[in-house]
Symmetry: none
Subunit: 203 residues, 4 copies
DNA sequence: CATGAATGAGATTTCATTCAT
DNA sequence: CATGAATGAAATCTCATTCAT
């Protein structure tokens, strides 16, 4: 029995991981469709094909589910973050990054989820931290690229890399929010967006 | 008798208006402290010193209260909007505007309320419209100033006034959001913000 | 002033009586459409074109309004009651009465109102009394006619007039209820109804 | 495990059925004492010894509870319905049926419940159908017996079985209503009632 | 780990009635 | 008498979470 439980444990771990994924995906869909507060734990469980009580074996509760989703964003942002680590002229790297990040936010679901999370983040420190952390990773890498750009003479000298990195992220985020709320296409404003950013950096 | 009822009506109207204000102020405080969804109609009524049932004589419900608050933002933004109507060199007008708007958003309450409203705006079209309308007013006036700046040769010729106006607003909004979430002071980043904006516009 | 109030009083009395009628009519319509419990005092006042508060100057409350409506039925039943007082052979009188009463109940509104009142009558003694009183009047007069019919040899001797009167009323009431619930026409069953009644009385 | 869950399911089902019964019984008592509209879901739950929220796990709401009660009447009427299926001379069968049905309605609870249901039936089609269906069963069986009585020469030829069946039911129902409202004993009028019915059928 | 009935606090909303004007 | 804002109790229903099985 003990041995069995050992091998079963591995199987169980895999099954459990699958369950967690299923639940998280279901939660994302629910939150997207109806918002965090309008979504009931029941809805999530039903959509995930999991019993209500069992959800509590995998997550501490509804709040915990949202926190994990916020944490998941990190994985989605990883490839975009990678772009900033690649070698190349700073302006070219920045350009590719802006395109990639804006494309990521062109999916309304990513934006809506972010707004939902932001809204919770204000009053739930743990979620706030996760959210800020994700942005912080982008900002740090972006800041580094900007620094390099300054050193290379590609960008103005009198800008603070870190601050500027924040501003760029906010510019893209803000444009994405607007795109969702006003129901306009992200790509139609991407050109002007890039232009504005580059103009702000040019020596 | 009929004449009297006329003056009585006015008195009543005034009293009713006062009540409405009281309730709205109370609601703002509640939403700020606990968020829209965590706030009960009961909490609002209690804080306003109004009976629960009576609140429903003045508003259709919680949702209606939020909608009116969203509408109220317009009044608060009016003086800032006025700045953009004043004569003067476009860069100077823009500078004063950015200062004023950033100062407005330096109050966390204004930002939190905006986030709260944005969050609802996604799924409640009527609130979404109000929110967009407020921003739209700013954007239109700002766009006009930018247009003037271009004509006067103060700003680059290859920018689209309307798009750029949006970007500037988003830049300030985004910075304000970050300031609240990261608990940093708005004024400490105002300089860099202005610098970035101006750089984006300079010919 | 005192003199005026005297003449005014009369005017007022008339106006007040009109108001009462208006309110009662409005209440009947409301009760018919939505039932007693689903109807709000507000609805009645609005429909009557009377202010909410003023309704309480004329009636003690919602319950009182229903009580007066129950009392009003008496007036509507009066002409039918009269038929039973007319001279003539008992079978003929009875026949005319059944026709008249069944015609009265052919109007669904009268039936629905009666059901509504019955339902309240169970737990509100005062309304119960009114309701029973109305039927009691009919029953008494009907009983007297039946008694005459027995004396004249038109009806069986071994029936109790009072009991039989009750049964006849119940037969008509019941048929009317069924007509409303099953949405069939009262007149289509009137023939069989009369036949059954007469057969029950024939010597 | 899966097998166990099968038996567990049955156990649960039994427990659930018990709960449902408990709630329905409690509801009946509440409706009897205070009427449908005066009874709160809370009252029912409390009386059933069930938590308020749990009631909603078994019924969709108050309305649903009443509907099920209306449906339950069928079971109570079954043995009476059976009497009409028994062989025997039509008059004797009819006599036994009238006695049984009148005895059923001699219990004020059955009558009050019926009135309560009738009252709701007017505006809630689903409940109306249930109510009519129960009566329809009785009427159909009764009609068949009357038809047999006519064939056998026990009853008049010029009566329509179906219509007459309706009339008989209404006669008993009406008498029962009166008995409750006037607080007289059903059995004291049963003799006259039977006599009247039989007289109406006799050739 | 899996299940879903059970809990009970709480949410929103309605409504008969009162009362100051 | 006329008005309708004010009251606050009560009603229905939801929901995150627990727990016995």
């Amino acid at each position: 029995m003990t041995d069995q439980s050992g091998s079963e444990g591995t199987k169980r771990d895999r099954a459990a991981a699958r369950r967690r994924s299923l639940i998280l995906e279901a939660a994302v869909m629910c939150f997207l469709e109806n918002g965090y507060h309008q979504t009931g734990v029941r809805d999530i469980a039903k959509r995930a094909g999991v019993s209500l009580g069992n959800l509590y074996n995998h997550f501490q509760g509804k709040h915990d589910v949202l926190a994990e989703i916020a944490a998941l964003e990190r994985a989605e942002l990883a490839p975009i973050l990678d772009l900033l680590g690649r070698s190349g002229a700073a302006p070219a790297v920045l350009d590719r990054f802006v395109t990639a990040y804006a494309t990521y936010l062109a999916k309304p679901e990513n934006v809506i989820l972010a707004i939902e999370i932001t809204s919770e983040a204000i009053r739930k420190p743990d979620i706030g931290e996760l959210f800020v952390a994700n942005r912080a990773g982008l900002v740090a890498a972006l800041s580094s690229v900007i620094g390099r750009g300054i050193s290379d003479g590609d960008f103005r000298e009198n800008i603070v890399p870190d601050e500027t990195a924040h501003l760029i992220i906010e510019l893209i985020d803000g444009t994405a929010y607007r795109a969702v709320l006003s129901e306009i296409a992200m790509r139609s404003v991407l050109g002007g967006l890039k232009d504005f950013i580059m103009a702000g950096l040019r020596p």
